[in-house]
């Protein structure tokens, strides 16, 4: 039986089964690592690919176009997004595209209505129509930025830091979705430009632009004078507001940490003093507290969409069994993935394996659970150091392993393997579930 360390070893690299697995390797490549990455994935000599790219570049120029395209399209080797991040990015991209389609749809309908009015001879002239359209578009952009988008915070893929729990209003130039400052500024800039363009178009059509230009010049001069006078005060006000905001964040973070320590660590320490005569209970309390503290420090937020994911589901099952049986269960998860019906079956089978290990091998030390989740497969290994058993010698009426683990995995398109040594070498249960194409 292999030790747990062997399970955690990285799997050897295999040739790409689809174009989606192609990567570029700038670290080992000459320019952008396109040939190096493709060659490694397809098991080809990168030199051959370089010759092909070079020859096609000199022959028709296509090589350099293909290389640039590959540079743009291929992701970099070694920066694989986790399944959780990939799913969040996919959802975010889908929502962005949906918003764009809705905007264009509304735009086309508005144009259809305006054209119909014109065709019917209703009093709608260009003097009013186009400025109104421009004002509506620019105003929508500015309002959307100022008020914020509903649900934007929920699409953030990056786990929120500890300080995010403090109820501090986002700065003006950063919306709830955490977009970068240049993106926000450009959106506001486009909105302001559209509104100004609407005003200019209206003045131009109505013939008042020449008169308005004199007024605008006077207003501009006054505005410049006001800026020169009030700019230092304004800058000082902004600086003091920024300092005050930073102080408030720090103060709220301190209060948050103090409250959390009081509610969790101090309470657990008091409980441990009371149970000092039961080492097993004390150890269980310490482990539970350690896990809770680590989760809090890592700042992993609760998923608001109610979707269950593999790693938290396994951890919850381990916590439950650990609490019920007083056996330490270490859960290590690499990657994460959302759970569908088959994934839920995998968690249920893993829970049964943990339960068996806690029941029959709890005295031999901690139970180790190792999970690995990716876009294509999920694997869970449950290992104990108990006396072990012979799977063939299990009586027919004992259905725990046969039905709840092996049968359940097979019914959901997965497989389960039991590596048990009856001579006291422990038991390892391997659960594997191949996932469908995420797209």
């Amino acid at each position: 039986m292999s030790p747990m360390a062997d399970i955690a070893a990285p799997t050897p690299r295999r040739p790409a089964s689809s174009l989606r697995e192609l990567r570029r390797d700038p670290e080992h490549g000459i320019v952008a690592g396109v040939c190096e990455g493709i060659g490694r994935r397809l098991d080809l000599d990168p030199l051959l690919l370089r010759i092909v790219f070079g020859a096609t570049t000199f022959a028709s120029g296509l090589g350099v176009v293909a290389y640039l395209l590959a540079w743009w399209l291929l992701p970099v080797e070694g920066v694989e997004p986790s399944a959780a991040v990939a799913a969040a990015e996919q959802r975010s991209a889908r929502n962005r595209r949906a918003a764009l389609e809705v905007s264009f749809g509304v735009g086309f309908l508005v144009i259809a209505i305006l054209l119909t009015f014109r065709e019917l001879g209703l009093p709608f002239s260009d003097v009013l129509t186009w400025p109104l359209v421009l004002v509506a578009a620019g105003g929508a952009l500015i309002w959307r930025q100022s008020v914020g988008r509903p649900g934007a915070a929920g699409t953030a893929a990056v786990p929120a830091p500890v300080s995010a729990s403090a109820p501090v209003a986002p700065p003006l130039l950063q919306d709830a979705g955490g977009e970068s400052r240049p993106a926000v500024i450009s959106r506001i800039g486009i909105g302001v430009t559209l509104v100004v363009a609407a005003a200019i178009v209206f003045l131009q059509f109505s013939g008042a632009l020449a008169a308005a230009s004199d007024v605008a010049l006077a207003a501009l001069v006054v505005a410049i004078a006001l800026v020169v006078i009030f700019a230092p005060f304004f800058v000082r006000l902004l600086t003091s507001l920024s300092i005050e905001r930073a102080e408030r964040i720090r103060s709220q973070e301190r209060a948050e940490v103090a409250a959390h320590l009081h509610d969790s660590v101090l309470q657990t320490l008091a409980l441990m003093q009371k149970r000092a005569d039961d080492p097993r209970e004390v150890a269980a309390l310490a482990r539970r507290q350690e896990r809770e503290l680590r989760t809090w420090l890592n700042g992993v937020p609760a998923r608001a969409d109610g979707e269950r994911w593999l790693a938290p589901a396994l951890q919850a099952a381990a916590d439950e069994i650990e609490q019920a049986h007083g056996v330490a269960i270490d859960v290590v998860a690499v990657g994460d993935a959302p759970l569908d019906r088959d994934g839920e079956a995998l968690v249920a089978a893993a829970r049964e394996a943990m339960l068996n290990a806690a029941k029959f091998a709890g005295d031999a030390g901690a139970v180790a659970v190792y999970a690995e989740a990716g876009a294509e497969r999920m694997e869970v290994f449950v290992r104990d150091r108990g006396p072990g058993f012979d799977p063939a010698a299990v009586p027919g009426d004992r259905r725990g392993v046969r039905e709840s683990i092996v049968g359940r995995m097979e019914r959901h398109g997965g497989r389960a393997a039991i590596n048990a040594a009856p001579d006291g070498g422990g038991t390892e249960i391997e659960l594997v579930l191949e996932c469908g194409d995420p797209s």
């Binding site: 929502n95 595209r97 949906a98 905007s103 264009f104 749809g105 509304v106 144009i111 054209l115 065709e119």
Partner: protein, 63 residues
């Protein structure tokens, strides 16, 4: 939305199909002389068709 037999109905296909059928009927009427279509009538009609399809696509894609 589910159709007969519990099969999931694709809202986008349904709306796009209906809109295209209406479009086809308008063209048939024009062909048979029952309707006189000019650029002034076709432009808003085409724009409305595009708008409805895009709106339904976007709304059905949103989460």
């Amino acid at each position: 939305m589910r159709g007969p037999g519990g099969r999931q109905i694709d809202r986008l296909s349904l709306v796009a199909g209906l809109v295209l059928v209406l479009f086809g009927v308008a063209l048939l009427l024009e062909r048979s002389g029952g309707l006189h279509l000019t650029f002034g009538t076709m432009a808003p009609l085409t724009s409305a068709v595009l708008g409805v399809i895009l709106l339904v696509t976007g709304l059905s894609r949103r989460e």
